[in-house]
Amino acid sequence: MGADAFGLMLGDPRLWSIVGLSLSISLSAVAVAALIGLPLGALLALTRFPGRNLAIVVLNALMGLPPVLVGLTIYLLLSRSGPLGAWGLLFTREAMIIAQAVLVTPIIAALTRQAVADLWEEYRDELTALHLGPMARAGALLWDARFRLVTAALAGFGRAAAEVGAVMIVGGNIDGFTRTMTTTIALETSKGDLPLAVALGLILMLVVLGVNGLVWVIARRGERNDGIIRSDPLRGA
């Protein structure tokens, strides 16, 4: 079975198409989640309003949101009789991206809030003395927290890539269209066709390992350099 699995890994174009689809959906979901989660986290870190503490508790709790619950909720919203049924997104890649983005956004937002709040404690006097507006202040803090935020985004990617319940429900696991690594593993295992499942399992593990390796390298580089930007202001870049 092991040899079959590796043979499939190298030769089956269907497998690589599944891998490609999985990665594109998860990366897109992380990008969407980052667009929402980074400003949301910074907002929660830097503003004071009634109910803020409750919002933080809820956000932290949402990091453990059950994927099947998210899948079910989005299914109900996107189904033909649901409030967003007219969009026609059910059983599409877009629906899978939405589902994964919903799962990942609280992770990125909560980790961003913590990172920005920590940095704000340190930078408060300097940035206050500059009398920056809230946007400029948040921008500066997000930029200087960038290594921690990359880690947050990769944590979100790990969650999205390993998730099966939500994408199964809203994507429908349609062969060649919405079938991802995790949904294929679940399907092939239930059918007793293990080589493809094992091959995908190995690739999924490699992806997770790669993600963790990337996090480690970025964090280490960040610690070593303690934050050097790539652009060079002396060259007017």
Partner: protein
């Protein structure tokens, strides 16, 4: 020659400041004017840093009134402050300066030239690409001065600028402060370092236990302090 400082004179009228109901400053009245360096002198915990923060509009007085060129509220566009332990942004030295220059709205070549000029001014021309947080304490203090100058201030507040530096680093910072003062920028510095105050100050505001005890030209204060508390401080005695 620099244009006159638009926020001067800064006037404190019976200013008080409380933290948690406890007075940190009480009945402080003075006027900051002219271009010579003014030094807030006094022991630790006297309230010197709080005065700087109030003058910089980083806090509002609990009692009394502060005005900047007769205005009650003034955006600190022409004021800059260097804290005792300045925080270095997690960027290169040059990028730290670029951030502080952002509001100057210079085009890229002009900004690059200004960064190079500021680094030259504080003796950090060779450190432009180094991570700011890896600089030594003295270098970080000099970068903090360059960042403050990047805002083109008319008034520069300094909170114990040499307190945590070794003598060589303190000497280099002091030389930069002299140049800054000579350029026409009004320096207002809090320190408990008598030597630094003697060498730099034109005027002394002696603060103890949250009150302004004595205000005098520097020479007069050091040669013949008008108050017993001032004399005690100069002798190195405990100021009560």
């Amino acid at each position: 020659m620099r244009a006159p400082a638009t926020d001067l004179p800064i006037r404190f009228d019976n200013v008080g400041f409380d933290i948690g109901g406890a007075p940190v400053l009480d009945q402080i009245s003075f006027t900051l004017d002219g271009h010579g360096p003014t030094v807030l002198l006094g022991p630790n915990g006297a309230g010197k840093s709080t005065i700087l923060r109030l003058a910089m509009s980083l806090a509002a007085p609990t009692r009394g009134r502060i005005s900047w060129a007769a205005r009650d509220a003034a955006q600190a566009e022409r004021r800059a402050i260097v804290f005792q332990r300045p925080v270095m942004l997690r960027r290169s030295v040059a990028a730290n300066l670029a951030f502080y220059l952002d509001r100057a709205q210079l085009n890229a070549p002009a900004r690059a030239a200004r960064i190079a000029q500021l680094l030259q001014q504080v003796g950090l021309a060779d450190c432009a690409r180094r991570p700011a947080r890896q600089l030594s304490g003295g270098e970080q203090q000099r970068l903090a001065l360059a960042r403050a100058l990047a805002r083109d201030p008319e008034i520069l507040f300094l909170d114990e600028p040499t307190a945590s530096l070794d003598p060589a680093a303190a000497k280099s910072v002091e030389a930069i402060l002299r140049d800054i003062a000579a350029s026409g920028i009004k320096i207002v510095m809090a320190t408990h370092d008598l030597g630094l105050a003697r060498r730099l100050a034109d005027d002394i505001l002696f603060i103890a236990r949250g009150r302004l005890v004595e205000s005098a030209p520097a020479r007069q204060f050091f040669e013949a302090p008008a108050t017993e508390q001032g004399a005690q401080f100069l002798r190195g005695d405990l100021v009560l």
